[in-house]
């Protein structure tokens, strides 16, 4: 197979579970063989779905004085930006914070669940391609660090309580990173090809 960073053709032997093959010239990761890749990714994506719903349904921070507490979810944050006339920024945060992460989970389930069950679904190849492109624009882990920074900034000003959703976001960050490390697109392509 060819290295996608330097184009060199590499001979790749069958990989033992958990092994990684690297390009002999530029050291780029060519492919990996995560054990039970499809099953693990499916389980993690289902957990992500649950955490995503929790994270977006509840407040992640409560802030204010005892008589005047404000709570916020990511969606209400986007709405306040929009109402201030910052529509561009609101749209951007909406994309990378809510739409893309949600889209990634839904697309992932659409690909993984039928693969696990051995069924064929329409447009599966296009959905796999789309999923690989969406991945870069889903920024849950950046948002989690954002919550931390905001927490430290505000803690000095008034009472500040982290909500359920802050923990859900932190766990979502872990399940998504874990999914990424368990996913090997080559295995998905091979399984898809075996079905048709």
């Amino acid at each position: 197979m060819a290295c996608h960073e330097c184009d060199l053709l590499n001979q790749v032997p069958a990989l033992a579970p958990g092994a990684t093959a690297r390009c002999i010239r530029c050291n780029n990761v060519l492919c990996r063989n995560p054990p039970n890749s499809i099953e693990r990714c499916l389980a993690l994506t289902l957990s992500s779905l649950f955490l995503f719903i929790v994270a977006n349904s509840f407040a992640f921070l409560k802030f204010g004085t005892p008589g005047n507490m404000r709570t916020t979810t990511l969606a209400t944050g986007v709405v306040s930006l929009w109402e201030e006339g910052q529509s561009l920024l609101a749209a951007l945060i909406m994309m990378v914070g809510i739409i893309m992460p949600g889209f990634l989970i839904v697309l992932g389930l659409y690909v993984l669940l039928p693969l696990y069950l051995g069924r064929k679904v329409p447009q599966a190849t296009d959905v796999v391609r789309l999923t690989l492109h969406v991945r870069e624009w889903a920024m849950v882990e950046v948002f989690v660090v954002g919550i931390l920074v905001a927490y430290v900034k505000l803690a000095a000003m008034a009472d500040l309580v982290p909500g359920v959703s802050a923990y859900a976001f932190a766990l979502l960050m872990i399940t998504q990173a874990w999914t990424n490390s368990s996913l090997e697109p080559r295995i998905v392509w091979r399984r898809l090809a075996a079905l048709s």
């Binding site: 060819a2 060199l8 780029n28 404000r70 430290v152």
Partner: protein, 209 residues
Amino acid sequence: MSAPMLTAREAGFAVCHDCGQLVRLAGDHHHCPRCHAAVHLRRPNSIARSWALLIAAAICYIPANVLPVTVVDALGKTQGDTIMSGVLYFLHHGDWPLALVIFTASVAVPMAKIAMLMYLLVSSQRRSVSRSVDRTRVYRVVELIGRWSMLDMFVVTILVALVQLGFFATMHAGAGAPYFGAVVVLTMLAAQQFDPRLIWDAVEARDDR
């Protein structure tokens, strides 16, 4: 390795950008038989597109740093904060860990990214053959760190939503904020357009001579 170093291009194959399938080249228009993506030997107009996006990012970078990203109305007074003044505020209050996080994500990362991409583009255009492995590594770093400069925009969103204490303090997003968001998106797109194989094409061109 005793086998000769042969690239996919020299063997007459193109690699699918999306799924990595090797596609034999014949004629000029191709689609990947496996995932149906358009297949090119190299990303089309990689350097020109990457430059265009990068220059746009560099232009937006100026208002992103000069204009305030947050504006606070407190007790009748209005105060705008740029990214740098935010960092300095925490530094003066002895909160250097936070100052360091914000400085890294909002100042160092975007600047390093623009500088690294410029270096990659200039060296590829000049068909430089030195330090190819290091330059490929630089490319990987650019791809890895790009998304983290979005951090400050998330923080601004959270602050605007929460700090609404009426007369005491109300926070708004400043005029610089959308420019900052634009810098993040444009540099990410510029990095996607750059084709790291151009670094290695120059090495092969020299070896053939």
